[in-house]
Symmetry: C3
């Protein structure tokens, strides 16, 4: 592990990271991935450090991934959700976090439904802050694990053609992916129903396509976004069946794609909607992404705690 | 500790275990029980291993017992319940568990309200799976701790007469107990209201009695099942008072039983319904069972993780 | 660290502690505070011990503080709340705790909405019990961290004039503070609306004032209590605005107080009600109290576990 060149206190988004910083994270992730394959999957690196996990939205993989990452570095973890906390007594999120900081917690991982909330918090505390997803804004560790998965599978990112399909408008994953991919010089096409593509998205350096067939042509990587029922997306698409007909990833549709196309999805998946079960189970790298998420999060916690 | 002779990846039920396998677990439990009585109740055996705790039904003692067992072996634990997880986003249980496996969790402990769900999951993952209770099917660690308690208290199981009283129909504890006791050559009588005795129960090798007095005669062990209000059992018994009159364990009723009868209950108890407070507090082995549960679960986690 | 002179199994309230016992806790807290400022904030003192955390009311800082205190002493922690436990199956609190004791948990920390419940439990178990707040009765670790903060900031407690303002009637913090301050020979004035001052409070050795101006005169320490909306206090005060006008701590009001007055609040704060934001953020010791809470709780856990 090597933290030279890393200066930041926080990991808030890929928009603000330099190409060099992204590369430092990916290099460290490679070392940490090796640890997860050992018999004893634990290193004493962060013994005596504390990582707080503050998830204000439901989460399985992201929360568990951060918790396990911290534990495998021998850090202690402290979890809490809004339901069991003083936030039910009307305390502000910032006051809660200031309290946690006063307990000499070294890093906090925050998931919030409010875009930008994590940025504001980071400016007001001296401990490190990791954004685990803020509203429709960014989900930088997902973006980084996607980059790491592409890098591990394809050997490079520069020059690859990456197609992101689905609800671009509400997806913090899409935004983080786009920032990262563009910084590493990939070509990005976003594809989905017109109602789910933000009007100014080309400003991020991506091409827009409303035809999945066209977008998939020559793509090296296909990243399928989740239709987020829990964000009320239902009303912006005609029906689930129609969505699947136009943008669902099926075996039939993939026949016209490259044979070595890398298929990714941030999970949790809606089987038979944006992705068919046989593609998810047999041809995708979804579980590899989950495994890589651990390595990437270990790298980030390590870098921020050893700054 | 000695894991020779243990081959299984999972602990799913006592129905499938051989007599030899049960004996390996009980022998290991004896060693681990000794550790729990030390000043420093922890061994480094499973350092760097991770045990996931997935409880989809309310639980105090079983969840805490597994969590503490794992921690006393120096394993890391990861908990989650359905309420805080992606299952609220519609993810399937199997997808959730596949994700956990992708994070290189070594063992998962699952409690589910659905009979058989844990078996199906175990077949689809390569990590070890422990059934912590599935619907009305089996609760193998409770069965094993009951066997261990009888063994510790009576010095043997073979040839003992064991009476199980209560709601046999809905009790996963009863089923696991019966499988285990029969394999170790105990004699088993089940007793309860006709509405709560399954019609084919004799096929498991037990005798049925509808009279508690008759069933208790010469019994070496009395295992009292909980009336599970939360499973809607109320409508199958005339009234709580009448249940107590016919099947509740009172001082009066025990006068005609053997003086050295071992009284057990898997908990949580309904005081004044299936068991009177003075029996529970002064004459039962209920808390000894809880203590033994820790030893048995340490043994099982140890055996599965060192396979 | 030094536990000589400490005999008690439990920490239930400041009412029962001697001056000497309070001093032992404060001396140990000073040592533990130093550990929290180290790079590696962890000592192996309680390796192999288990601390159970049973919070039956919402809590952020107290629960996290206890959890972190235990972890920094290298103890294992076990958490549970009523929502996820067998208490939803109707099990009594005492039965739940007897079960936890049977698992050889060394200490339990209990928060309960019922005044006196923690005392009753402590009498029935042989493991150590720490009261983390019971109804309107006592909150001894808050009382002790308040004493510790005064001691750290003022160098002494004897002879200081301490003003406690707010809802004295419902505040377990006020009661614990008063017991501790009087034992250490401070002078205490309580101040608030007549509806929120208990009629017999002078029996505890405090003076009552209904005028904040008068009470603040010459005060060395001002402890501002939280208006606990969640306890239905709203109906006992005319309006929040009126409360602020009479008893809220504002810059204006503090102009007539001593310049070196120490301003404390147990949190969580209601900004603009009992305390103005600028006072809370710029002139108070609130976060210092949170930090001291960790040291005090480490001291208490250490003393009880090493008895």
């Amino acid at each position: 592990m090597e933290s030279r060149g890393w200066q930041r206190k926080d990991l808030l988004g890929l928009e603000e990271l330099s190409k060099k910083e992204i590369e430092i994270i990916l290099e460290n992730a490679r070392s940490f991935k090796e640890i997860s394959e050992r018999e004893i999957k634990k290193v004493p690196t962060l013994r005596g450090k504390t990582v707080g996990l503050l998830f204000f939205e439901p989460s399985t993989r992201t929360k568990l991934s951060f918790e396990l990452s911290a534990k495998r570095l021998s850090a202690d973890t402290l979890s809490f959700s809004s339901a069991s906390s003083s936030i039910v007594k009307g305390e502000s999120l910032l006051d809660t976090i200031k309290n946690i900081e006063a307990m000499r917690v070294d890093l906090v991982v925050i998931r919030s439904s409010s875009s930008g909330a994590v940025f504001q918090i980071a400016q007001q505390v001296s401990m490190g802050v990791i954004n685990a997803g803020d509203g429709c804004h960014e989900h930088p560790t997902q973006g980084l694990l996607d980059l790491f998965t592409i890098y591990q599978k394809k050997g490079r990112i520069e020059g690859l053609k990456v197609c992101i399909v689905g609800d671009i408008a509400h997806s913090r994953v899409a935004r983080s992916d786009i920032y990262g991919l563009k910084k590493l010089n990939a070509e990005v096409v976003v594809c989905g129903p017109a109602t789910l593509i933000p009007s100014q998205i080309e400003k991020l350096g991506v091409r827009v396509s409303y035809s999945l067939e066209e977008a998939l042509k020559d793509a090296d990587v296909l990243n399928i976004l989740r239709i987020q029922k829990e964000r009320g997306v239902d009303c912006q698409i005609p029906s689930w069946r129609e969505y699947r007909q136009q943008f669902g990833i099926t075996r039939e549709r993939l026949k016209r794609a490259r044979k070595d196309i890398l298929i990714m999805h941030p999970g949790p998946i809606n089987r038979g909607v944006e992705i068919d079960s046989e593609i998810a189970d047999l041809s995708s790298s979804i579980l590899e992404q989950v495994n890589n998420g651990l390595a990437v999060r270990m790298a980030i916690i390590y870098l921020l705690a050893n700054r």
